[in-house]
């Protein structure tokens, strides 16, 4: 039995749009419950210190205070973590950054809780801090965690770089650095914790990865997983950012709820969020490349140090993605890459859209332009000479068995942007004008989904009701990316229904088994495959029920236009609703659960090689900029962004992802930096942490490339993250084209453009 998936590749309206445009969507901050208390956090006063004593008596005596908890009140594990168990929701003996909590208060109002926090007295023994990951790795550096400051070392090895450099006509060495940036979702982190009458602890809030949060809360609060229920409220943006920090909020609020038996709201202010929530890793990158005079790359040796901050969080995974992709999408016969993640007393770093790729892409794509410049080649031609093609072998030794479209992306994008003409014309025109014009490009490849990071599997439940309406449940999260709509489209396609008949149920850990996190741009390819399987299984049952009545074998029956009908004979049909009723009356189960596991892949950590991902996506972005050399102002006039998504299930949503990713990368390239001085955050709100406004983002031309992949539903791969990893490099290359200045450190803010270095704020204690 088949269907007619005509809705695939069209752009029906988002299923969650109406509630969002009317303001009726319920976000975490909109939740209220009877008897609800408000929590506030007493944060650390030193970035690295031993806690000597905590006195809470005065805070507890304040009228309206219901509870004050410290680490001593934690009934379960003191910490949680993805691999290294080091993140303490409330610090016990030691604080490691200024976002650590030493106590948490619940009170009748937020104002009372705030006053109570000020009444808590903590005595510390200040310890020397480490704020640069390169310093942290030195043998005499102060130890932040007992096992030392090295979180992880990953490597990639291919061929023999000695041989490769020997074959080269030139060796080019360059160093780059990237900055700490904030997700800057417009909704800050918030949870409401409460107890169901059966004793289940419920944490509802701005969650991205519900099952991670459940594990952390259950472990820290000493509860079985079955007694912890995580529910997602409408999520006001996440971009990888509402994972560990939401577990922290969940543990804190959950503990207070257990203590008081009342609902607890814990909501981070923007200032709390900037200090406490994890950021994107700053990287220090050293590249050495061997190249022949004809432009052939012979070898690359790469050394990278990542600032993990106070806790490991996703550092192992982020840096692994970097080590796999660090050469960029190029044929390099000899590769030696090492990456080290180190603890510091800075705000910890973790997942952020791109996940270890925006940093390396900035470096290797700046580098490609620099090499092309040294060789006197056009940056496009230099790349076209070296990019990976079908059946090529990557830096990790993986033979690519799908359509390798980075060359296509380069060609399509440069054609759309008028590359050849502008590269030639702008330098001539710039001589006579004040505002200097430039155009630059960047391209990348990106492993889809989790890869060899771990198990990659997820489930979906499709339930057909007696009236022909349908419920869809998965364990994955809508964050704004359009997952509810894409998944509903898949069910509608397979069941032959209009999308309005599909109801996407809210995401709740008590309704479906753990299907992993909503990360790594895995939802469409892994989650979509599970959804499709579940829908097909449900449809088969309808077909079986209707086959007898329609007098045709199930193989001849299709679901289309809200009917179950004989293929090629639409008169012989029953309505979808009738078929559902018939099946239910026959005692059939019209609920189906399906599970999808990614194809096999492998990684040898010892040898630094493997088939890291089961497929890859490719993209290219071009930025055209205008630079004011007097003020350092860079205007991004236009961006062309081509991304191979396999198949665009919903093109308008894909376009939204591309435009959004480009804007995020413009911020990364030009404006954004969470400035920290000796562990103290200097950018405390959105007046100091600048993200692009509508006037900072020029015209974006989204170009969708479709080379269908055998592993994706309808050939679809992914789009979310690759869109955010390119534009910072494209802008740096465009600025160089405009001004002749090569800037190797992000962001390219006013001072870097004019002075060539950053300005540092004076020290000021903010807490």
């Amino acid at each position: 039995m088949n269907s007619n998936p005509s809705i695939i590749g069209t752009s029906p309206k988002r299923v969650d749009a109406r509630e969002k445009v009317t303001g009726s969507a319920r976000y975490g901050q909109d939740l209220r419950m009877d008897g609800m208390l408000f929590a506030r956090v007493k944060h650390a006063e030193y970035p690295h210190a031993r806690i000597r004593s905590i006195k809470t008596a005065r805070a507890k005596r304040l009228k309206g205070v219901a509870a004050v908890v410290t680490a001593a009140d934690i009934p379960g594990n003191p910490a949680f973590g993805a691999i290294i168990i080091d993140n303490q929701p409330i610090a016990g003996d030691k604080v490691r950054y200024l976002g650590d909590a030493v106590a948490v208060v619940a009170a009748e109002t937020e104002a009372i809780a705030e006053r109570a926090v000020d009444l808590i007295e903590v005595k510390y023994e200040e310890l020397p801090g480490v704020f640069d990951p390169r310093e942290a790795l030195k043998p005499d550096a102060p130890r932040i965690h007992e096992k030392g400051n090295l979180i992880v070392h990953h490597k990639t090895r291919k061929g023999d770089v000695g041989v490769g450099f020997g074959e080269a006509d030139r060796i080019i060495e360059r160093s780059y650095s990237t900055q700490r940036v904030e997700h800057a979702y417009i909704e800050t982190e918030v949870v409401v914790a409460y107890l169901d009458p059966d004793g289940t602890l419920v944490i509802k809030g701005s969650h991205q990865n519900l099952f991670n949060i459940r594990s952390a809360v259950a472990g820290v609060l000493g509860l079985p997983l079955s007694k912890v229920r995580i529910i997602q409220a409408s999520l006001g943006g996440s971009f990888g950012g509402k994972d560990d920090c939401m577990a922290v909020l969940g543990c804190r609020a959950g503990l207070l709820s257990l203590k008081t038996a009342r609902p607890i709201m814990l909501s981070n202010s923007r200032e709390d969020s900037l200090v406490e929530s994890y950021k994107r890793h700053p990287y220090f990158l050293d590249y050495k490349v061997g190249v022949k005079d004809d432009g052939t790359i012979t070898a690359m040796e790469i050394n990278i140090v990542a600032d993990g901050g106070a806790y490991a969080s996703m550092t192992q995974f982020v840096t692994w993605r970097s080590v796999v992709h660090a050469t960029g999408p190029y044929r390099v016969p000899h590769v030696k890459t090492d990456i080290y993640g180190a603890y510091t007393n800075n705000t910890y770093t973790g997942a952020f859209r791109g996940f270890g790729s925006p940093q390396i892409t900035f470096a290797y794509e700046s580098l490609m332009d620099e090499i092309a410049g040294e060789l006197g080649m056009d940056p496009l031609q230099f790349r076209l000479k070296n990019v990976l093609r079908d059946n090529d072998v990557t830096a990790t030794g993986q033979k690519l068995d799908h359509t390798v479209s980075v060359g296509e992306a380069l060609e399509v994008t440069t054609r759309a942007a008028g590359w050849d003409e502008k590269r030639k014309k702008f330098p001539e025109e710039n001589a006579g004008r004040i505002m200097k014009r430039g155009i630059g490009l960047a391209c990348s490849y990106r492993g889809v989904a989790l890869g060899a990071e771990g198990v990659d599997a997820t489930g979906a439940i499709v339930r057909i009701h007696s009236d022909g309406s349908v419920d869809l449940t998965t364990g994955l999260s809508e964050m704004g990316q359009g997952l509810k709509t894409i998944f509903s489209q898949i069910v509608a396609a397979e069941l032959g229904l209009p999308i309005e008949k599909i109801q996407y149920r809210e995401t709740d850990t008590s309704t479906i088994t753990d299907g992993g996190p909503t990360v790594a741009s895995r939802s469409t390819i892994i989650g979509g495959s599970a959804v499709r399987k579940a829908a097909i299984a449900a449809r088969e049952k309808l077909g079986a029920a209707a086959a007898e009545k329609l007098g045709a074998p199930p193989a001849k029956i299709i679901a289309s236009d809200e009917k179950i009908m004989v293929k090629g004979d639409p008169v012989r049909a029953v309505s979808f609703r009738e078929a559902a009723t018939m099946a239910l009356d026959a005692g059939m189960n019209l609920s189906s659960f399906a599970w999808h596991v990614s194809p096999p892949i492998w990684w040898n950590e010892e040898e630094g090689r493997g088939d890291a991902y089961f497929t890859y996506v490719y993209g290219c972005q071009i930025a055209e900029v205008e630079v004011d050399p007097e003020t350092g102002r860079v205007n991004v006039l236009e961006v062309w962004a081509a991304h191979d998504v396999g198949k665009a299930i919903n093109p308008e949503t894909v376009r939204g992802q591309i435009c959004g990713g480009v804007a995020t990368a413009i911020g990364y390239g030009l404006l954004e930096e969470v400035e920290m001085v000796d562990g103290v955050t200097k950018t405390m709100n959105l007046d100091e942490y600048l993200i692009p406004t509508a006037m900072d983002v020029g015209k974006i031309h989204a170009i969708i490339l479709e080379n269908e992949d055998k592993y994706g539903p309808y050939g679809a791969k992914c789009v979310a993250e690759p869109t955010a990893e390119l534009c910072a490099a494209a802008i740096a290359n465009a600025v160089c084209h405009a001004t002749g200045k090569r800037i190797r450190d992000l962001p390219l803010n006013l001072e870097r453009i004019v002075l060539g270095h950053k300005l540092v704020k004076k020290k000021r204690r903010v807490r």
Binding site: K13, G23, S24, I186, Q481, G656, C659, A663, N685, M695
Partner: protein, 155 residues
């Protein structure tokens, strides 16, 4: 703290309320009246998630004391929505894919509504300027600008 009396029209409805003098307009809307479509993202007037229309002009409700609104008229996203029909801007945001996480959407629509009330035929530059106080981290603004332009084109 001594309460003050506030007479205010919100979404066409007249209210007489006893409020704390330090109550922000945002808190009045969200906490007292439970009009939660108006969001809080920064508390310092930078993100625009709390944008409402006060006497015809788009303002940040986090920067205005409720007491300053005595005798004045406020429209929130809830007031823009008709009984059966959506406001043309709301419909255009849906039609043009201008909504992702949706957290900035109410404020964004209120800024756009204020713009179109004052200037029914704005240029793209006018639109970008009018929403430059509303931060969006999801969309890159492209489809938002297109949605507002489409409504303007119908004017």
């Amino acid at each position: 703290m001594k309460k003050i009396t506030l007479k205010i029209t919100i979404n066409g409805r007249k209210h007489t309320l006893r409020i704390d003098p330090n109550l922000r307009l945002l808190d009045l809307l969200r906490d007292e009246l439970r009009l939660t479509g108006t969001k809080e993202g920064c508390g310092i007037g930078e993100c625009g998630a709390c944008t409402v229309i006060l006497d015809g002009r788009a303002v940040n409700a986090c920067l205005i004391l409720a007491g300053q609104c005595n005798g004045r008229e406020v429209v929130t996203i809830e007031g823009l929505t008709g009984k059966d029909d959506l406001h043309p801007l709301q419909q255009a945001f849906i039609d043009h894919g201008a909504v992702q996480c949706g957290f900035c959407t109410p404020g964004m629509i209120m800024s756009a509504a204020a713009l179109l009330d004052q200037n029914p035929t704005p240029t793209e530059e006018d639109i970008r300027e009018a929403i430059s106080g509303n931060l969006c981290r999801c969309t890159g603004y492209t489809q938002i600008v297109e949605a507002i332009q489409a409504v303007a084109d119908d004017n």
